[in-house]
């Protein structure tokens, strides 16, 4: 089984080839170029380097979100183009789960975090039972302060420490340090960000559990509606066009 992992949810672009239980290749960049320019050249490079033909791939594991809307769509569209051309499935992998999965075996409460803008973070809480990922709090968009409070509460109950990770850290590091009075642990550079190796590895586990999608139905996990839809809903208006058409309103 050959799995191509794709990660482009935020600033990191990453891809990996997992062959059964061997990580054949992983290519991760944290650079200013856009994912649109980097992702496919990176995929092409690791397949070439490992002598893997696109048609050798069994499935595509893609980081589904939450994250940057545009970043998620670049990964999703790339995964769809490949999966459609090769007639193989797509396994959606929750982005924050995959970040935590990179710390498999850790004795900490893991709190991956991404900058969600508007004063919020996309964050989740995890711990490990051996090397098995246990989800304590699924991905949410919420203020950093609230997420840190929850993380520290879990840690207190379990007598553990919290390890913060994810590429939102540079933005929130100072705030977390202040809120935890210095107790917080921060992941080191090699494990702090999203990596497609983790996406592929977790994708394999999920696939074996029956989690599967395809090029037709897969959609990113945005967590938030568009600004325009939020504003309409705040005014108590529908965001579905059918209602207006049904009234026969000629707009």
């Amino acid at each position: 089984m050959k799995i191509l992992g794709i990660e482009s949810a935020s600033v990191t672009a990453s891809c990996a080839v997992l062959s059964d239980d061997v990580l054949l290749a992983e290519y991760t960049t944290n650079y200013k170029k856009t994912h649109s320019e980097t992702l496919l050249p990176m995929v092409s490079e690791i397949l070439r380097m490992t002598g893997t033909k696109p048609s050798d791939l069994t499935l595509i594991a893609v980081s589904e979100g939450p994250g940057s809307f545009t970043g998620l769509r670049i990964g999703a569209a790339a995964a769809k183009g490949l999966a459609f051309a090769l007639d193989i499935p797509i396994v959606p992998v929750p982005t924050l789960d995959a970040i935590a999965y990179g710390m498999a075996g850790s004795a900490c409460i893991l709190c991956p975090m991404m900058d969600a803008r508007r004063g919020e973070v996309y964050a989740g809480l995890y711990e490990f039972d051996g090397t098995e990922l246990v989800i304590l709090q699924k991905a949410e968009a919420l203020p950093c302060t609230e997420e840190v409070r929850r993380a520290e509460e879990f840690a207190g109950e379990r007598g553990k420490r919290v390890m913060y990770l994810g590429d939102g850290l540079p933005v929130f590091r100072e705030e977390i340090t202040r809120l935890t009075e210095g107790r917080a642990l921060f992941a080191l550079p090699q494990s702090v960000t999203q990596r497609a190796g983790s996406v592929a590895a977790l994708g394999k586990v999920l696939y074996e559990q029956g989690v599967v999608s395809d090029a037709y139905t897969f959609s990113p996990l945005y967590l938030r509606k568009s600004q325009a839809e939020q504003e309409r809903e705040a005014m108590g208006l529908s965001t579905e066009p059918d209602e207006l058409s049904a009234k026969g309103a000629d707009l």
């Binding site: 856009t34 649109s36 320019e37 980097t38 992702l39 496919l40 050249p41 995929v43 092409s44 696109p54 048609s55 809307f69 545009t70 769509r73 670049i74 999703a76 569209a77 790339a78 995964a79 769809k80 183009g81 490949l82 459609f84 051309a85 090769l86 090029a215 037709y216 959609s219 990113p220 945005y222 568009s226 600004q227 325009a228 839809e229 309409r232 208006l237 529908s238 965001t239 066009p241 207006l244 058409s245 707009l251």
Partner: protein, 340 residues
């Protein structure tokens, strides 16, 4: 007999997700368009984030249907063409990213296509005998250009709008008189009930640039007219206003186009872009061309609005020239006409 060239084309620059299969540039084997107009009507215009989300949902079903309708399998394709600009960046990225990875997985060459070049190429599909050179008026929601098409994919821009695009003016006026989005077809329909001579609106001229356009003055004149009427407590005849506004736009577009045709001695004038679907503009350009014995070309309305068949046609001629895009092709939201 040279080998047939079969191209899969993808277009997602604004609010239509479209895919087509085109053979030898001009034979459309399939042309699938998934429109989001109903959704954006709620917001009075295209919402980029909503458009992008729809594209990612629709891209595979639309491409799959295009191949199915054409009776062509992915293995029978010779190339993939995709719109990479201009347009909404988030929307463009869906088509570009999908097209790149599809082409890569199938080992097919990829050709990035300029959206407006696609609009011009729609004429080649409609008229198998049409060949450059010719003069062309490109009018859409985002563009108003008067160009000379000197060869396939080679454009000389002679005039352009200094402010609003023609289609933008239609949208803004439609909103002002409560017709809503999309303004073009709604004004067109309303204008049929009105008198185009009822109100005299100014025809924008740009000092020292005889081929350039300006529509913001016209738009302001319409808004002022509405304000005056409102303050005076008069009711405005929307149909007369729509017809008079439309005439002002159509007259300017027609005059400038014919000026170019005369000045450069063209015997062929083509129109392209979404606004070229406007019935008054088509009639006016046709009448003006007929009067001067100039052949007039305009695609049928379905090929005027955004579609992928036109991208397949433009992509074919780029493909023949040897143009190839790499795996690093990016969306270019402000791509200029004639640039790569």
């Amino acid at each position: 007999m040279p080998k047939d060239i079969t191209i899969l084309a993808i277009e997602s620059s604004c609010d239509e997700t479209a895919a087509a299969v085109v053979r030898n540039g001009r034979e459309v084997l399939s042309n699938v368009i998934s429109s989001q107009i109903a959704l954006h009507t709620l917001y009075g215009g295209v919402v980029p984030e909503i458009a992008s989300r729809k594209h990612i949902e629709k891209i595979t079903p639309v491409v799959s249907e295009a191949l199915k309708n054409a009776g062509v399998s992915a293995d029978e394709l010779d190339a993939v063409a995709v719109t990479y600009g201009p347009g909404l960046v988030g929307a463009l990225l869906v088509g570009v990213s999908f097209a790149k990875s599809f082409a890569y997985a199938k080992g097919l060459p990829l050709v990035g296509v300029h959206h407006i070049e696609g609009h011009v190429a729609a004429n080649f599909i409609e008229y198998p005998e049409l060949e450059p050179p010719f003069a062309c008026l490109v009018v859409s929601g985002g563009h108003t250009h008067l160009v000379e098409v000197t060869d396939y994919g080679v454009f000389k821009i002679i005039g352009k709008t200094r402010d609003d695009a023609a289609g933008e003016a239609f949208d803004k006026v439609a909103r002002a008189i409560g017709l809503g989005y999309p303004g073009g077809p709604k004004i067109d329909r309303k204008a049929r009930e009105g008198d185009p001579e009822a109100i005299r609106f100014p025809k924008g001229r740009v000092e020292g640039a005889p081929y350039d356009f300006s529509f913001s003055g016209l738009k302001s004149a319409v808004l002022n007219y509405l304000n005056h009427a409102k303050m005076a407590g008069e009711t405005v005849n929307d149909a007369d206003l729509a017809a008079s506004f439309q005439k002002a736009v159509v007259d300017v577009l027609t005059e400038r186009s014919m000026d170019l045709v005369r000045a450069r001695g063209y015997r062929k004038l083509a129109a392209a872009g979404g606004v070229a679907a406007n019935s008054a503009l088509r009639a006016s350009l046709k009448a003006a061309c007929d009067a001067e014995n100039v052949a007039f070309f305009v695609p049928s309305p379905i090929l005027c609005t955004d579609n992928a068949a036109m991208i397949g046609c433009a992509g074919y001629y780029e493909f023949l020239k040897g143009v190839r895009s790499g795996n690093d092709l990016n969306a270019v939201p402000d791509l200029k006409l004639g640039e790569r």
